[in-house]
């Protein structure tokens, strides 16, 4: 019987019951914009202006330097490896958490969130502690001449750690909001597990 809840959309506030006097509004907008300019727009502008300070040609030459190219390649390689891994993990974890009830679920969610709150310095340190020369399996690695720390595998590991929670954190609330009804209906109609996952879910999983 109650009317649908109205979400507030910014409109020219002629209705004074729902907004502040015009002077206050514009003052607040001005303060917000000054703050954002100082902290966001300026750095953004500075990045670009400094990059192109000496002209486009100098910028392109700097880009083509071997050091720059190899670092770009390294960054792209790292992203190419870590993103699919974390994506696969995120979807798997979200499925396990959102579609099932089990004891310890909250603990699991908290543990998945852990890398988000840990300092990046620590995330590198812990892998040095395991794979470094003084680490747990460091001597074994050195005997077999496998380089992990100070090499690409170490970089990839640390990047996986740091970006670990992102996909799961995005998907879990989404999948929880979807509920289980669609999948249960698909089951009743005879779909196998994988069929249910792939055909029931693509639109929602685009995130």
């Amino acid at each position: 019987m109650s009317a649908p809840i109205k979400k507030y959309h910014a409109k020219s506030a002629t209705d004074h019951a729902q907004s502040e006097p015009a002077l206050v509004r514009w003052l607040l907008i001005a303060i917000a914009l000054v703050f954002l300019t100082l902290f966001l727009a300026l750095p953004l502008a500075a990045v670009f202006s400094q990059a192109f300070e000496k002209g486009l040609s100098v910028y392109l030459v700097a880009l083509r330097e071997p050091d720059t190219l190899s670092s770009i390649k390294l960054t792209l390689l790292t992203a190419a490896v870590t993103v699919p891994l974390n994506l696969f993990f995120g979807v798997t974890a979200a499925w396990a958490i959102a579609k099932f009830s089990f004891p310890g679920k909250n603990l699991l969610i908290t543990l998945i969130d852990l890398p988000f709150s840990v300092s990046p310095v620590i995330s590198g340190l812990i892998y040095v502690l395991i794979f470094g020369l003084q680490g747990w399996i460091g001597p074994w690695l050195q005997d077999h001449d496998i380089k992990i720390v100070f090499a690409v595998p170490g970089i990839i590991l640390a990047t996986i750690f740091v970006t670990f929670p992102f996909v799961a954190r995005e998907l879990i609330p989404l999948m929880e909001a979807q509920g289980k009804e669609e999948e249960e209906a698909a089951l009743v109609l005879g779909a196998t597990g994988l069929q249910t996952f792939f055909s029931g879910n693509p639109p929602q999983h685009q995130t």
């Binding site: 109205k6 910014a10 907008i29 954002l36 300026l42 990045v47 709150s117 340190l125 395991i130």
Partner: protein
């Protein structure tokens, strides 16, 4: 599986997905973190306390946590303002500003640090106006607070924004009908609704600021006892091969992260209960 009978887990894939989740989590997160704890457990209690309460370390705590709290407070105040302005008011460029708020997320921390250091150095775009006034930002603790404010900015805005969007107009209209002034409505009706999300944003921004390394070291000055942040101290000890010291301090930071995570989770639980 009497344990799960109550909850009727009929969908397939539980064992597989949970198993892989726990495996991946252990390999990437739990085992490495436990290495940190075990390494520190090798120290005696006296040694541990001695390391983490050394004067230089205490000074770094003061710099790091002190700056982080100030930065988080600044972000909370202005973050709420920005979220309110973005949702409630119309002005030219609003969408661009909305997208801009995510900049600190997208910018690599090193880029952010170098850029901020350049702008606020004595010759920089802003620094050149502040330097004659005697306000030095770059390479001082003030610069650390500035960098922490920059990186924590999106947290408060993005946490508060959805809540402002969900405020029911009927509540404000009812308040006006009952005779409230606009200020009273804001203070007594709207602010309590926003408070849980503001606190969550504060905690998130604080947690991020405490751990941050890349964007701060360029602008920080990094002088021991004055402007050295704790993550930098850990790195310095590592470079000197003082693994014991580094792991001990890292353990303290890890403990802080745990606590912050707990606080954030509790706050989010509180705000979810409040929303219902």
């Amino acid at each position: 599986m009497k344990l799960f009978k109550r909850h009727n887990n009929v969908l397939p894939g539980f064992g597989l997905t949970l198993g892989f989740t726990i495996f991946y989590l252990s390999v990437i997160v739990l085992i490495p973190l436990s290495a940190l704890v075990f390494r520190t457990a090798g120290l005696s209690w006296g040694q541990f306390v001695g390391i983490v309460t050394a004067p230089r370390v205490l000074a770094s705590y003061r710099v790091t946590f002190g700056s982080a709290i100030v930065a988080a407070i600044i972000n909370s105040v202005f973050g709420v303002l920005v979220a309110w302005v973005l949702v409630r008011y119309r002005f030219p460029g609003r969408r661009f500003v909305d997208a801009l708020v995510d900049l600190p997320f997208a910018l690599p921390t090193a880029v952010a640090g170098i850029t901020l250091a350049t702008i606020y150095s004595p010759n920089g775009w802003v620094g050149r106006y502040l330097d004659p006034l005697g306000i030095k930002i770059a390479f001082t603790p003030l610069g650390i607070t500035l960098a922490m404010t920059f990186i924590g900015l999106p947290f408060v805005v993005r946490t508060v924004q959805p809540v402002v969007e969900e405020i029911e107009v009927e509540l404000e209209e009812a308040a006006v009908c009952l005779g409230a002034t606009r200020w009273q409505t804001l203070k007594l009706v709207i602010f309590p609704m926003l408070l849980p999300s503001i606190l969550t944003g504060f905690a998130l921004s604080f947690a991020r600021a405490v751990g941050e390394y890349g964007s701060i070291i360029f602008i920080a000055g990094n002088m021991p006892m004055v402007s050295e942040i704790t993550p930098l101290l850990i790195i310095t000890k590592l470079e000197q091969f003082d693994y014991q010291g580094a792991t001990a301090i890292a353990c303290v930071m890890l403990l802080t992260s745990f606590l912050m995570l707990l606080v954030i989770n509790l706050l989010q639980k509180w705000s979810r209960r409040y929303a219902e």
